[in-house]
Amino acid sequence: MKKKTTNRGRRPASAHRVLKGRYSGRISGLVRGHHKAFRKGAGFFYQLVASLGDYSVFTMDAQGNISSWNSAAKAVFGFDEKEIIGRNFSNLFSEEDRNDGAPERELREAEKLGRAVDETWHIRKDGGKFWAAGAVFPLFDTTGALRGFTKIAQDLTPSKIKEDAAHSTSALVGMITDAIPALIGYIDPNQRYVFHNLAYKSWLGGDTRDLRGRRMADVFGSEAYRAVKPYLERALAGERVSFEMELPFEGNLRWVHIDYVPDMDPKGFLRGLMSLVTDITAAKRSEAALRKSEAELILAKEELEKQVEQRTARLTQVNEELTSFTYSASHDLRAPLRKVEGFAQAIALHAGDALDDEAKGYLARIREATKSMHRLIEDMLRLAGVIQRDLSHVEVDLSGAAAEIFAELQNADPNRSVEIRVQPGLRVRGDPELLRIALQNLLNNAWKFTRLAKPPRIEFGMMRDGKTYFVRDNGVGFDMRFAGKIFAPFERLHRMEDFPGTGVGLAIVKRAIQRHGGRVWAQSKPGEGASFFFTLNEGLRS
């Protein structure tokens, strides 16, 4: 090494020589003194270096023995100034790097190129490793001789970054949680607040700026605290609890939903507790209102049902009374009718020849009228019977019944010749009496109204849909305007002298079909015959 001692107060270069080689790393009072003088002389720069925050800055001699050490370096590397001065900076490198010769390389590179950068593991005093980025710069004296080096290093360990990030994260967290109207808080195992959001201020009023460090019991007051205490204790024991309660907050009662979430460390110890308090007063109120209106609705429904029941019972009763009355009245009318008919005949028998044609005519009309009345009474009795009768539920051969009815009709009127077609094999489950009565009325009608047809044709069968029966005739037909009327009792569409009838027949048919849960309807065109359709067992049977 060149020795040009031009500077005052400087140690002779020979001191450096002593220090290099095998003496590097040995700390002697001589070396210390040298460095002390160096520091005092550069007091201002020392101050400068000390002010560089968390950048470690230290200087080394040409062999890499540390000659100065700033506070950040101490913070990062853990070594005190006293401990590290004179020791080689390679001690700050990991064993691998040392074995590799990395420190030496760094110095050589710095000397040659003017700088050397590294980003590698460094070693702390306690032996802990951390990641740091460093830059080494050479220091030359005025003669251009290498005096030593400066190294600047920055700690890049994740924890450091985390700490920085954490700082910015916590600001973000604060911003976010402050925007939420629910109470978000975090307490330590001693129930003191570590963190809380802004909502605490509006809920608890007053100057609730910073509750950190304050106990939960004090923040919420004894009444509220007492209420949540059992849940709190469970949570502090490690259980996640959720519950709803009405609690006072600054004099206002709120319905709240509270979640306590324990924060456990991996070993199972409680780090703290997160508390989330959401105001559900509005929801509770609507819920209460809803329940109230539900209850009212149920009550109203029950009331309505009761009323319906009562009215149905009354209607049923009235219906029964009417039907029973119809039955009795019809029944009791038969006797006097029979007598009128009987005595009219008696007159004819007794005074037959003595009567003139006019009187005979009157008698005949009396007899016709009584016959008519008789048929009406019979029909009314049948209608009442159809309404009242208990239904049986057996297999009924409709085809067979139709054939029988046609035979009876032919028997009673042997001179008429009618084309009859009955679809065979039509069977159904129902009440045989009622079904027979229905068929009888329909076929009777067809028989009656085809009186003028040439030739009269009556057909009974089933439609292609497999569930609708029909009775079709080519008789006198009717105007569809009255299609609805004809099924009402006592409704007639034809003159008595043209086509006699009581007007009750179709009412009987309708009733009988309805009791089987079916429907009946008709289609016709005046002069073009009529078709009557009915279904059975479609639904409600009564």
Partner: protein, 136 residues
């Protein structure tokens, strides 16, 4: 044809008149005894039986009568050994299926509803005649 007595039990005077008006010409050889209700008829029969008189060849009975109706009378007659052999025919205004069943199951030979039309009495007379012909 030798007839005998027909016991006609009926309470309605009009019905009595009309029935007699129709049956007498059709059964000219028969004698008719009319009783106004079941009780009267029963008492009459019991008296005749007690006196060992010849009992009626046939009973023609209505159902609806005061004091004792036709069905009750039928039961009592069938229960009495002396009277049980007398054939009973019902001629009633009741079209009730139950009455008809009870009458026929109770031993009645025929059950007719009182006809509107006089011509129907032909059938009734025929039926009565068929029962009377067994009378020795």
């Amino acid at each position: 044809m030798k007839c005998g007595v027909i016991l006609y039990v009926e309470d309605d005077p009009d019905d009595i008149h009309l029935t007699m008006l129709n049956l007498e010409p059709r059964l000219p050889d028969c004698g008719f005894v009319v009783k106004r209700d079941g009780l009267e008829a029963l008492e009459f029969l019991e008296e005749e039986a007690a006196a060992s008189k010849v009992l009626p060849a046939l009973m023609l009975v209505d159902i609806k009568m005061p004091r004792m109706n036709g069905l009750e009378l039928l039961r009592r007659v069938r229960a009495d050994g002396r009277l049980a052999a007398i054939p009973v025919v019902f001629l009633t205004s009741s079209g009730n299926e139950r009455d008809k069943r009870e009458a026929l199951q109770g031993g009645a030979k025929f059950y007719f509803e009182k006809p509107l039309d006089f011509a129907a009495y032909d059938r009734i007379a025929d039926a009565l005649r068929s029962l009377l012909m067994r009378f020795p």
